[in-house]
């Protein structure tokens, strides 16, 4: 899935006073690449994602976009970031308008169809189920036709069934074109199934960047045992889990 380079982050770090939330991290992302940021709570996943999204401010480091100025980024925070009193359609139209879409109505209608929100499009967002709301949250992030989609634990609040359906939908969404996908998760299973590269963060430090096999090798655990990935992840994380 790797294509041309999209962005290169060098030495990205974030400090809050004396607390180091994220130690200097280097990360290169290519077009069409799917990267899972995995790590326990407080590992620095959200901090890194929010800096890449342009929402958070890095204390140090730089981000260089291939080919010049920053490209469109789709940002999906962990908690749905939308207006609960507006309908799904109104939310999509508003954010498409804010993303400077030439025809926000058409963009919204297209996303409603792609996200299978037709039946609930004219309901207030506050009346949607958790899974549907997360789909809307994701659809809003796509309104600006981003080159990079950043998802902060998108399935964190969903049931296993909802997770499965959401990932099917995300896979469908990113299947076309060369949009890169970076998501954070605490599930090695989710990471191994949905990403072709796993970046492990522990205590604000990048511990491992590679495939699942690389992670198992780095952990030194049995690759043939049951739940080999889970075992390797637990070993890598250690007491921080």
């Amino acid at each position: 899935m790797r294509g041309d380079a999209l962005l290169t982050a060098r030495g990205i770090a974030r400090r809050y006073g004396s607390f180091e939330a994220l130690a200097p991290v280097d990360l290169a992302i290519s077009r069409g690449e799917r990267i899972a940021l995995i790590g326990p709570n407080g590992a620095g996943k959200t901090t890194l994602l929010s800096i890449l999204a342009g929402v958070g401010v890095a204390s140090a480091g730089s981000i260089e976009w291939a080919g010049g100025p920053a490209l469109a980024v789709g940002w999906v925070p962990q908690r749905p970031a939308l207006y609960p009193r507006l309908t799904a359609r109104e939310n999509l139209r508003l954010f498409a308008g804010l993303e400077s879409a030439a025809d926000p109505r058409a963009v919204a209608d297209g996303l409603i169809e792609r996200a299978d929100l037709g039946k609930v499009a004219d309901r207030p967002a506050s009346a949607l189920s958790t899974g549907t709301l997360q789909r809307l949250n994701l659809a809003i992030a796509l309104a600006g036709q981003p080159a990079l989609l950043l998802l902060d634990e998108p399935t964190g609040t969903l049931s296993p069934d909802q997770r499965h359906r959401l990932w099917n939908w995300i896979t469908e969404m990113v299947a076309d074109g060369d949009m890169a996908l970076v998501f954070s998760t605490q599930s090695i299973d989710e990471a191994s199934r949905s990403a072709d590269r796993i970046v492990t963060l522990v205590g604000g430090q990048l511990r491992m960047d590679g495939t699942l096999d690389d992670l198992i090798r780095a952990a030194g655990t049995d690759p043939s045992g049951p739940a080999a990935g889970e075992t390797a992840f637990m070993a890598l994380v250690g007491d921080d889990q």
């Binding site: 929402v55 980024v73 009193r85 109104e90 508003l94 804010l98």
Partner: protein, 448 residues
């Protein structure tokens, strides 16, 4: 960014339209408070209660003053025009004053009517005020002094009338009833005629020398008559050396009405604008949308400007509704709607910017609303303290003081003065200052 601001403006109106409970609280509550405040301030001239002790009640006597027969009750009724008299005995009056049920005790002394009737000495009525309420005591004192002065003037006029009647009686003769005495008086004219008749009779009796002796008496009577003619205007001047000519001014320019309306506007607009802008901005954070907007979709400055415009528009609507109610339901002249539009919009911007700072600092909408209310309400009340520079500058912190003065000026001053523009300019500066601070706080919230 203008497009983004416009989109968020439309979104806010749509959200507000669907949040009827919030809208009712944000708009309804300040209007109710404002109306209650206006009623309270406009009713500030209500008559204070004063205990009335009549120690001359047993006499049951009345005094004839001119054409009028005056009793203690009549006197009390006239004093009751300026204070609410509560008729009690001396002991009850003392207790009522001690309990704070009345603001003062007015005592009519024994022999009051008798003293008035004889005119030998001036009767003394006593006013005992409550030292715990010095301001109210002063007000009662001034009201009763003014009323006693008016009654004294009326009595003096009546007494002078009686004296002039006596002058007429001396000149023309007739029946006399004065200070309880009655009788018949001959009068100067009748005496003059009698002397002339006597002169004629003496001359006819061959006593011209005797008749000539009465001529000096006739000259004296003529002189006295002429001098008594001069006494009439002099007596009137003594009765009322200085007259106060009271003319009613144009309706709607009464300072108390202006204070009441300005107070209602300051409280109403202040609370609506502060609470609305604080709620709108904190709701963006509570809904988690700030992180999305913070990616560069909308600048913090645009968000602040857009919310300030919403709060100014709300202030204009609420202000116009309140002024419309005043114009339709009272005799107060509101006038100069063009200046009102400018004053309401700029005040709305100042209040709104202050609310935006609260909204930017608060983590939740509920916190923002509570903080907005707790800060704004006392400042709005302090702004209504008349004539205090300390209160003005203390409440100017959030624009309340300058707004109150601007509103009063628009209501009271017939001309658009430099002072009015200065007040509007100060409100604009307050709006800019808070807007800039709120923008920086919001920027920090958007980019953590």
């Amino acid at each position: 960014m203008l497009r983004a601001g416009r989109l968020l403006f439309i979104k806010d109106l749509r959200v507000l339209g669907r949040s009827r409970g919030l809208l009712a609280i944000l708009i309804g509550y300040p209007i109710v408070i404002a109306v209650l405040l206006a009623i309270a301030l406009s009713g500030g001239d209500a008559k204070p209660s004063v205990a009335f002790v009549n120690l001359d009640a047993q006499s049951g006597r009345t005094v004839q003053v001119g054409d009028e027969r005056l009793s203690v009750d009549d006197y009390a009724n006239r004093l009751g025009e300026v204070v609410n008299l509560v008729r009690v005995d001396a002991q009850q009056a003392t207790e009522a004053l001690g309990d704070g049920k009345v603001s003062a005790v007015l005592t009519i002394p024994e022999g009051f009517v008798s003293d008035l009737q004889t005119g030998i000495r001036s009767p003394v009525i006593t006013l005992q005020t409550n030292p715990r309420s010095p301001i109210e005591a002063q007000a009662i004192e001034r009201r009763l002094e003014a009323m006693v002065f008016r009654l004294n003037q009326a009595l003096a006029g009546a007494y002078v009338g009686q004296v002039l009647n006596l002058v007429d009686l001396i000149k023309n003769g007739g029946n006399v009833a004065l200070f309880g005495q009655t009788g018949t008086l001959a009068g100067l004219k009748s005496s003059q005629q009698t002397i002339r008749d006597m002169q004629r009779a003496l001359r006819a009796a061959g006593k011209p020398e005797e008749a000539a002796k009465a001529a000096s008496l006739l000259d004296f009577i003529t002189g006295v008559g002429e001098n008594l003619d001069l006494a009439k205007p002099a007596a009137k001047a003594i009765a009322s050396p200085i007259r106060l000519d009271v003319k009613a001014g144009a309706p709607g320019r009464e300072p108390l009405s202006a204070l009441g309306i300005a107070g209602a506007l300051v409280v109403g607009l202040g609370l609506v604008s502060v609470l609305l802008s604080a709620a709108l901005l904190s709701a963006e954070r509570e809904d988690g949308v700030l992180s999305r907007l913070g990616r560069g979709l909308v600048s913090p400055g645009s968000i602040i400007a857009q919310k300030a415009v919403v709060s100014a528009a709300a202030a204009l609507v609420v202000g116009m509704v309140l002024l419309g109610v005043v114009a339709v339901s009272t005799s107060v002249t509101v006038g100069r709607w063009g200046i009102w539009v400018i004053a309401l919009l700029v005040a709305g911007l100042a209040f709104g910017a202050f609310g935006l700072l609260i909204g930017a600092l608060a983590r939740e909408t509920r916190t923002a609303l509570l903080a907005g209310l707790m800060i704004s309400l006392p400042l709005a009340v302090v702004a209504l303290i008349p004539g205090s520079d300390v209160a003005y500058w203390a409440s100017a912190v959030a624009g309340f003081g300058p707004a109150a003065r601007v509103f009063q000026q628009v209501l009271v001053d017939p001309e658009v003065t430099t002072s009015l523009w200065s007040g509007i300019g100060l409100l604009a500066l307050i709006a800019i200052a808070y807007g800039v601070i709120a923008r920086f706080v919001l920027a920090r919230r958007m980019h953590t």
